[in-house]
Amino acid sequence: MLRRFVALGVVLAALIFSPLMRSQSAPPQSATTNDQVAAPAARAIDGWGRPVPAPAKDQKSAPAPHHDISGTWEPANGALDGLGIFGAKGMPEDGKPEHQLPFTPLGLEALSRMKPTFGPRSVLPADTNDPVVYCDTQGIPREDLNQLRTTQILQTPSSVVLLYQFGKVWRVVWTDGREIPKEPEPRWYGYSVGKWVDDYTLVVQTSGTDERTWVDHVGRPHSADLHVEERFHRVDQDHLELTVTLDDPKMYTKPWVALDRFPMRLQPPSFDIREMICSPSEIAEYNRLIGNTASDKGTQ
């Protein structure tokens, strides 16, 4: 009986969708074909009107340089691979037992106050308390776990500077041997120090982050005691892997890996990073036209 019902459902779905499927599978009527869309880098242009460079496939990379992660990096598996809309890519909020975080009672209580716009606890746009929606900056570690897009890394003799596309923000990792302050004044991006643990791996420690920031897009919480370790491992000339581990005994009973060897690929030096700025006026316009309408709050 169940099989018949399922089969009937499939047949009905096929009948209902057939006109739509025909229209979608119609031959391309112009130079803009579906194949080109599937490989968007082939025709995308940057802010200077130049083609966005497509990744060179099957090209053997040169060995990694020593103590050098500088360059412009993009998620290797597609520019949107680092969005993290379901939370930390290493531990997405998807209900799977292996992705259950080791919350403390305080952590669970804090989680219940977060109203994300994605995941199983998602709310309507007008009901969220996600600070990023209101143009608060992401901070660390959310910068790694949500909207990790094109990232430019600069190195000086005493620091590593990271320029993030999302929000057009930057942060400094000090590599001059200093230690994180004992009782730091909280900052959105905390205090970061880095150390080369081998020729190709920079390990960055961060503490002193502002409690107002979320760990990720689905509102995993953190306390002022959060400690973040970022491990930047340069695999070869063209590839970098980022691993992020969080330790916050107030919120989680044990450390957990939020990002596990996330792959990024080196881009040409001429690569232009487009602006992605959270503009309060643009957010207001979006909410006026769509957000409030979608939430049945106000009209267009």
Partner: protein, 140 residues
Amino acid sequence: MKGKFLMIYALGIGVSMFSAPLFAHHGNAAYDTDKKITVKGTVTQWIWSNPHCMLQLDVTDDSGQSVHWIAETENPSTMTRNGWTEKSFKSGDQVTVTAIPLKNSRPVGRIIEVVTANGEKLSGIRVPQTGSDSPTAYPK
């Protein structure tokens, strides 16, 4: 020229045909991801901005009534990768928009695809329902 109204509500029966719409900031709770609609109309404004680009169009329904629709995409940075630009549309353009509708049936949609008057297709972005995979361009 009045746009011809064409709306097709398609219920996903047994098989989920679509993935969740991608919101950089704003989630998919408001959208009915098992449905899609197609509307044909006249562009009144193309807003190329963060957090999401918005295509506004006037659509004439079967009773001759003009309905103002707003269809959103992702942000400019993401859409550029799919070949969209600030100049993709101008007021007066005739377009056919396929989109995921709101649950509350208000005239707002999440763009799956736009077909311009000269037949050019511009694809929106789709994402899986879980965090394990990467978003891709429609169609998939």
